[in-house]
């Protein structure tokens, strides 16, 4: 049981997870929350400060880096969750309905952000109920209908990028 818990913990460290309702340490700043995975890896603030700041800028929260997370809007929290998921450079990013409750523009921006993570070699899996997001970026698309998983569809653009 203990070994299994440790294996799960190890697996979690290799996976960046963006929950539908991400949990943060609300009183901590966005910067501190995003840096949390790196602190858990034993890194010192002087080692990760620049990387985290870039990451926070990258998800568009540069102006809110020092704000407590409890002051962020829903879309900003989702972006902070993405930044936190990316902080430890995971092999795989799982996003569970990351655009839920967002405006279409914010949703598309989030999906674009996640898609860009493929450039650094991470696999990205996004679960969403919004069909329209699939045209934001080239990607493989599976559909689940009444519990049945469809064959994957891939766009020309996705093919082009994947086989470059």
């Amino acid at each position: 049981m203990r070994a299994r818990s440790r294996e799960i913990a190890d697996a979690k460290r290799r996976v960046g997870y963006v929950a539908e309702n991400p949990v943060f340490i609300e009183q901590w700043s966005t910067f501190d929350n995003v840096a949390m995975p790196l602190r858990m890896l034993g890194q010192k603030p002087r080692d990760y400060a620049e990387d985290v700041r870039e990451l926070v800028e990258f998800v568009g929260l540069g102006g809110a880096a020092e704000l407590p997370v409890e002051k962020l809007s829903g879309a900003e929290r989702r972006r902070a969750a993405i930044a936190r998921a990316l902080a430890a450079k995971p092999n795989l990013i799982l996003a569970d309905d990351p655009t839920a409750g967002m405006s279409p523009a914010d949703g598309r921006r989030i999906v674009r952000l996640l898609s860009e993570m493929r450039r650094v070699g991470a696999g990205v899996v996004i679960a969403s109920q919004d069909d329209t997001l699939s045209d934001v970026s080239p990607m493989w698309v599976w559909r689940i209908d009444r519990g049945r998983l469809s064959q994957p569809e891939q766009t020309e653009a996705a093919d082009a990028e994947m086989y470059e």
């Binding site: 818990s5 697996a11 460290r13 997870y17 700043s29 949390m36």
Partner: protein, 286 residues
């Protein structure tokens, strides 16, 4: 980053400081009771009465005094006067007794130096008196009717009472530290989600609680020490800040020194247990 949680930390700090203060004060009180009991037992054992049986008359008393002057264990000897005997009897019976009515007393009060438990004090003194030509018996304080065995009972009660009280305070500290872990539940959830093991999560929260416990223990110990000094100054006539260092033994500092250490350990353990439990819950939900 921590400003928003200051209230929780402050509440925990003062709860732990109170527990540490109460436990340390109980420990100091136990030490005081122990020292009073030891002093009582020493003074009880340091007194005896010699009854001179022979020779009769003042010559017998004089020979006994001479023999006692060089007898082992005896630090001082003084014949019991009629006035002294009447005063002692009046104190014991509660009724006034006229010294004029006292019979001829052939008693000598002696004070004894501390002796090892194996030493036959009475036998040595009787032998010394016999060497001086005096037949006498040594009357020591009777066990049952003059508080014999009371001191060990008081010492035991003080020790175990303070231990029990400290255990109660430890329960308070334990529960308070669990409160901190509950307040840090979102941190536990976040750490669990990010791949921290149970021991990492519990250790993080336990460290925080232990540090707060350490400082609270120091504060509680210092407050108990100050309270102890004030009690000594008020309770013992003639005590001043200058005479205190000579009165206090190194062992008296144990409750004060133990307060920070034990508070940190108990707070850390309480927070660790609670955080581990919350981590388990988060892991099941996650």
């Amino acid at each position: 980053m921590r400003g928003g949680l200051l209230g929780v930390e402050r509440a925990l700090f003062w709860t732990l400081a109170f527990a540490a203060f109460a436990a340390a004060a109980a420990g100091l009180a136990a030490r005081a009771a122990d020292r009073v009991a030891v002093t009582y037992e020493q003074s009880r054992n340091a007194y005896a009465i010699v009854r001179v049986l022979a020779p009769d008359g003042p010559a017998g008393m004089a020979a006994a005094e001479t023999a006692l002057a060089s007898a082992p264990h005896v630090t001082s000897a003084a014949p019991m006067t009629a006035g002294r005997a009447a005063a002692l009897l009046s104190e014991a019976s509660g009724e006034p007794i006229d010294p004029e009515n006292m019979p001829d007393l052939r008693l000598i009060e002696i004070e004894l130096a501390p002796a090892s438990p194996q030493a036959d004090v009475s036998g040595d003194i009787v032998a010394a008196l016999a060497g001086g030509g005096v037949t006498a018996e040594v009357i020591e304080a009777p066990d049952a009717s003059s508080g014999g065995g009371l001191a060990p009972r008081v010492r035991n009660a003080a020790f175990w009472g303070s231990v029990a009280f400290a255990a109660m305070m430890a329960v308070i500290a334990w529960l308070a530290a669990r409160g901190l872990a509950a307040r840090r539940r979102e941190m536990v959830t976040v750490m669990c989600d990010l791949g921290a093991t149970r021991s990492q999560t519990a250790g993080r929260i336990a460290d925080e609680a232990a540090v707060i416990g350490l400082y609270a223990g120091v504060a509680g110990g210092i407050l108990a020490a100050i309270a102890g000094v004030i009690v000594l100054l008020l309770a013992i006539p003639g005590t001043t800040l200058n005479t205190l260092p000579a009165m206090i033994l190194p062992i008296d500092f144990i409750p004060i020194a133990a307060a920070p250490l034990l508070t940190a350990i108990v707070a850390g353990a309480g927070a660790r247990a609670a955080a581990g439990h919350f981590h388990g819950q988060a892991a099941r939900l996650g």
